[in-house]
């Protein structure tokens, strides 16, 4: 059984988690930013995006980051190398987030073994259905000791919600928005997360999609164990289109972004 404790928030705390697309803005800079995330005290855990050519559940920012990474030739091996680098720098949980096809293509068992030996904690595959998970993915992942996080959204049926909490072995990813990652459309976030509270004991609940500010994170206190920021972070570390990336400048922008999330000292 995989340990969900690292994802659980204490009392009214909310873990901050950062999503970063592997190979964005380039492989070297990405590694430098990951180093920051590994050591930064505001960051509790990290999602490392595995770029995919057809990321249909992602908003324009993450989509674009995938495109940039792929255009530079980022491979699964690069993803694993980044994971190893992260793991060598810290013990924070590291979730690999992506789409089924590259995993399926590599072979679930091979993939799981490689991910595990790179130090990944678990997987988030938004397009993986439960039945395929149980049949095709779970055995391999479990054998490698990798956990899974499934999604719940405001449109989920009660059955789906139960299934997500039953099946997830890392945390349940609560979609904080009816919409895509980075989509700013508003919804009654409180109502949705309130209804999920009775499941939290079973498995931690982490919010994502459309979060960007410390206030967003703070507003989830008592409602979720963690908050994932993706698009906003990618936008923050983006450099002007066409310019070559300056790793130092990017690292500085990452630090600037994270600073407001530190507890007031």
């Amino acid at each position: 059984m995989i340990d969900v404790q690292p994802f659980r928030a204490s009392d009214n705390g909310v873990h901050l988690s950062i999503f970063l697309t592997a190979g964005y803005p380039d492989l070297e800079t990405c590694g430098a930013v990951l180093d920051i995330l590994a050591t930064h005290p505001a960051v509790a855990f990290v999602e490392l995006g595995m770029p995919f050519s057809d990321p249909l559940a992602d908003g324009p920012t993450i989509q674009r980051a995938s495109e940039v990474a792929l255009a530079q030739g980022t491979t699964l091996d690069d993803v694993f190398a980044l994971a190893s680098r992260f793991r060598s720098a810290c013990a924070k949980p590291l979730m690999l987030m992506g789409y089924c096809n590259p995993v399926y293509r590599r072979g679930v068992e091979t993939f799981a073994a490689e991910a595990q030996s790179a130090g990944a904690t678990g997987l988030i595959l938004p397009d993986l259905p439960y039945e395929s998970h149980h049949r095709d993915f779970k055995p391999g992942l479990e054998a490698a000791g990798l956990s899974m996080a499934f999604l719940v959204s405001p449109t989920s049926t009660p059955d789906s919600v139960s299934e997500a909490f039953d099946t997830s072995s890392a945390f349940v990813y609560g979609v904080a928005n009816v919409g895509l990652t980075g989509d700013a459309q508003s919804m009654d976030r409180n109502a949705f997360f309130s209804e999920l509270q009775h499941h939290r004991e079973q498995c931690p609940l982490v919010a994502g999609f459309g979060l960007s500010t410390p206030a967003d994170v703070a507003s989830l206190a008592g409602l979720a164990d963690g908050a994932i920021i993706g698009s906003a972070f990618l936008r923050a570390i983006a450099h002007a289109e066409g310019d070559p990336a300056h790793p130092d400048a990017t690292v500085q922008r990452a630090l600037d972004f994270l600073a407001p999330f530190l507890p007031p000292s």
């Binding site: 050519s53 089924c100 096809n101 293509r105 449109t155 009816v178 919409g179």
Partner: protein, 393 residues
């Protein structure tokens, strides 16, 4: 007529499934149920049938193609989907799904389109139904297929440019899915071929089953027993529409893929021939992908076949040997299309021209009875044809 015997838990053999994000799961539960109910509801059926007759112009003829038969040395009949309203079979599905969406209380329709045929069909169905319509189309395709963009706009549809990836059909599909994820409640997504997550492949096939059904009726009246049913394969909707009522019969089903510049040229859309199993646009099927599982760009002169996937039902039927497939290259398709125009007086869609080309080169004994799905008209392909026939104009 339904495909149910083939379906197990949303899978067709090893292929199919629903590889969709949670945000859309409820939509798929609702859609599956709504389609099953509607399809069994005589009121829905009679409304749908009446529209096919009065609006779409069905039945379309099953025409003996005399000069083509002579040239092939075998009896060939054309199923004339080019005569359907808007110029291709696509409207059968578009009108069916729009009717269904209205029944489900949806208030907005979205669709993806490549060459624009499915976009025009959906915009047409929406104009008829008075429903707002948004069509996603690759920015690149919008340039290449300007007249269809204009048609959609005149029909009242909003056309949105997909500016990601190769800016073609695959990317338009991603954009449509994304929009749907952001607006799951009031919106229905009219997928344009027998692809995507279950129940789409089955539902689209059923809406096109009228093609095969009419073919059966016409054959019965003409006392003909077809030995071969031939259709081009893009996503596979026109093929499956023709094949559907014949799946259990002793007749050869032939699907023709777009070879592009050659199946081994790296510039091809021959998914069944050159692809491998994978997951694209919500379904497990055969896809063109690299060793990393990234989807490759397809290539075909025909925009409607220029797709790196194929319907999961087709992947299943091909894997079991029920569906025989072959690929035809750009140049052969163009020449076959030109020949059909000159000798039969029918300007076929470039998609269709692939199937035509195959009938010219197949080995016939002469005793076969071949039904070719003439899936659409080629007005949209005028420039490609003209360039081929007068390259120096």
């Amino acid at each position: 007529m339904t495909l149910h015997p083939l379906i197990q838990n949303g899978y067709y053999g090893q292929f199919g499934g629903q590889f969709i994000p949670e945000m859309l799961r409820r939509n798929f539960v609702d859609l599956e149920q709504a389609f099953d109910e509607a399809w069994q509801d005589p009121t829905f059926q009679s409304e749908y049938r009446a529209l096919l007759r009065d609006f779409v112009g069905r039945p379309t003829p099953l025409q003996r193609a005399d000069r083509w038969s002579e040239r092939c040395g075998v009896q060939v009949l054309f199923k004339r989907e080019d005569l359907a309203h808007t110029g291709a079979h696509k409207i059968n599905n578009a009108i069916g799904q729009v009717l269904l969406a209205r029944r489900m209380g949806k208030r907005h329709i979205i669709a993806e389109t490549g060459a624009g045929q499915h976009g025009v069909a959906t915009a047409t169905a929406c104009a008829w139904a008075g429903m707002p319509c948004t069509v996603f189309m690759g920015a690149e395709d919008m340039e290449r297929q300007k007249p269809n963009v204009d048609r959609m706009r005149l029909l009242g549809a909003e056309v949105r440019a997909a500016r990601t990836g190769s800016q073609t059909l695959k990317d338009a599909t991603n954009e449509a899915m994304r929009y749907w994820i952001a607006h799951p409640q009031d919106t229905h997504y009219v997928i344009g071929s027998a692809v995507g997550p279950h129940p789409y492949p089955m539902m689209v096939a059923e809406f096109h089953g009228i093609i095969g059904e009419e073919t059966r009726t016409a054959c019965r009246e003409a006392n003909l027993t077809p030995t071969h049913l031939v259709a081009c394969l893009g996503g596979g909707s026109n093929a499956l529409g023709l094949f559907l009522p014949y799946l259990e019969e002793e007749v050869e089903l032939v699907g023709i893929e777009a070879g592009g510049q050659g199946v081994d040229s790296g510039r091809t859309a021959a998914t069944l021939e050159k692809g491998s199993p994978g997951i694209l646009h919500g379904a497990k099927t055969m896809i063109l992908q690299d060793s990393e599982g990234q989807i490759e760009e397809a290539h075909s002169i025909s925009a409607g076949l220029d797709y790196p996937g194929i319907g999961p039902l087709h992947a299943h039927l091909a894997s079991t040997g029920r569906l025989r497939t072959s690929a035809v290259n750009d140049e052969d398709a163009l020449q076959a299309g030109l020949l059909c125009t000159r000798t039969e007086g029918i300007l076929p869609a470039l998609e269709t021209a692939h199937a035509l080309a195959w009938t010219l080169r197949a080995d016939w004994t002469g005793d076969e009875v071949v039904i070719l799905n003439l899936s659409g008209r080629g007005d949209k392909d005028l420039m490609s044809y003209t360039h081929t026939s007068h390259p120096h104009d």
